[in-house]
Symmetry: C2
Subunit: 335 residues, 2 copies
């Protein structure tokens, strides 16, 4: 039987508040319509959400794993996929060449070799712009592009992720730092060519005015960490839990913990009070002053980091308050 | 094709080093043979490991979720299962009554009512012994036991989890604190009755001499957090990753991150050098002095917390160095 209200759900369960989700998508569409946004499926890992974004006019997507690309192709959304990450498993992408248009990031001879031998037809040169992670130097970029073209591959352009700037609070400071990073990326682009300059994320979607497309996904669902930035998006994602124990000593316990919440940005948050600590399958909350919570009550907690929280669950329930409107499989998990 | 060596695995991948795993099981068996240990499946979430423990003589298991109990019954290991946690979904347990012997923890009238109406035949009274989580007071325990018996349920005894003492370093200090907690549990047991006094964990497996059975699971795989305690168990679990990018600026990047490692106890650890930070699908490592890592190299990282790390993966690969001996499904995930 399909559940109609959240009381009928097994907990812990991921909820997406429908009105907030719609608000987030509409808000982003005003700033970055159509191809200006390349939604990043790593944030929500669900082809149901991708399908909604495609219907809204965002036809190109990016991904962080080969499995996400495979899942998007299987769901019929392979028109323009960018694996915005390096991989040595490029043959898995090459096997999809007849069904999809897939571009993969490269930043070294080895990752380019993997793309060539794996049968990938299209690459983008990933340039390091300040985040100590993937990406080649500006000087390396044209050599890799030349090698790719010599091997018969299409070079779509460049990408560079200013991930270290996502959480910069001051808008002017952020704008200046993003500009400096993107100057690096644009100087690489001059030497690489191609139509695409791809970068950014939810934290710089407005500040990054230099790329041709922004890679963002977390804005759809949001979390307590991004919420600190004063972005125009609101928190749509919660984990629904059930109170399973109440102590007269001043705490209550719900049935979701370390296996239901990503903890890399800290504890989940509770609108009504303080979160004391998480265990594997429990979170202990302080009983609020005058609070009258009882065993069986439902409590929604906001995760501190959307992307790895979503990756722990099998489905999200789209809700309007307590009414269930849809169930979205989280079908882009694992590797 | 079944992979024969770890080079053939898609990364990130969970590895269990066979010799270390065997050592951990043998070491525990010397201290707590047979029914003295009730292995906790929440740590490894795999019926393959449970089957090995059952073959070694541990026939009773405990679990933290209803789904774990259901999975153990489906795998034919339902002879003596304890859901060492409160639940309001007791009807899911009751539906298994003709196939398995299942006891559920209760600490309130509501959780007892759920057990009664859900068709559960056997309960254990969960007593709070110092950890601010589930468990009733000593004074409440006999009343709940009487109510359960009056409703025709078997009361198996008491349980109490001294989880706040797992990480106490000094053995004498730990012994004294565990004794005080267990004095609370034993005073509840006097008033509740039943054959079972259940408690403990990997961190107190040797210090807790007052229970009839220890609930431990992490000792099988171990993590960097438990490893700080000087326990006689060794770290068997690693996440195998592939180097996907190397920077001349002094770092390298592997293809496992926040979605492959539990982060509640901090970053994973690397034997050869320093872990700088984790992103969703990357971990950036400092290039060691004189290090010559290249794109394509395999690197094993030790997770900081076993239980929620295992819960992120679909399978574990049992290995002897680089040779694959077995693949264990992580079939007790989710809720």
């Amino acid at each position: 039987m399909t559940p109609e209200t959240i009381d009928q759900l097994r907990t812990p369960a991921l909820l997406v508040e429908s009105g907030v989700f719609d608000h987030n998508l509409a808000t982003m569409d005003k700033v970055l319509p159509g191809a200006r946004l390349r939604p990043h499926v790593k944030a929500f890992k669900s082809t149901a959400i991708a399908r909604r974004l495609a219907a809204d006019g965002h036809r190109g997507f990016c991904a962080a794993t080969v499995a996400e690309v495979e899942g998007m192709v299987a769901a019929g959304m392979g028109d323009d996929l960018l694996l915005a990450n390096e991989t040595l498993q490029a043959e898995r992408l090459g096997q999809l060449s007849d069904k999809a248009e897939i571009t993969v990031a490269i930043d070294s001879d080895q990752t380019l070799d993997a793309a060539i031998s794996g049968g990938v037809r299209s690459v983008i040169v990933d340039v390091e712009v300040g985040l100590p992670r993937c990406g080649c130097s500006v000087d390396e970029a044209p050599r890799l592009a030349d090698r790719a073209r010599a091997a018969g591959l299409m070079v779509m352009g460049v990408m560079g992720y200013e991930g270290h700037l996502m959480m910069v609070r001051d808008p002017q400071d952020k704008a200046a730092q993003v500009e400096a990073c993107m100057a690096t990326l644009l100087s690489a682009h001059e030497r690489v060519g191609g139509d695409i300059v791809s970068g950014g994320g939810t934290g710089t979607f407005a500040a990054n005015k230099w790329v041709t497309e922004i890679q963002a996904g977390s804005y759809t669902l949001m979390d307590t960490d991004y919420d600190k930035l004063g972005l125009p998006f609101q928190k749509a994602l919660t984990v629904l839990t059930t109170v399973i124990s109440v102590s007269k000593k001043g705490w209550l316990v719900v049935d979701g913990g370390l296996k239901a919440f990503a903890m890399d940005h800290g504890n989940p948050s509770w609108t009504d009070g303080k979160v004391l600590f998480c265990s594997d399958e429990h979170t202990t909350l302080a009983m609020p002053e005058g609070g009258s919570y009882a065993v069986g009550d439902k409590i929604r907690l906001f995760p501190a980091h959307v992307d790895p929280t979503v990756a722990k669950h099998q489905q999200m329930w789209l809700v309007e308050d307590d009414q269930i409107r849809d169930c979205w499989d989280i079908d882009l998990r694992h590797w």
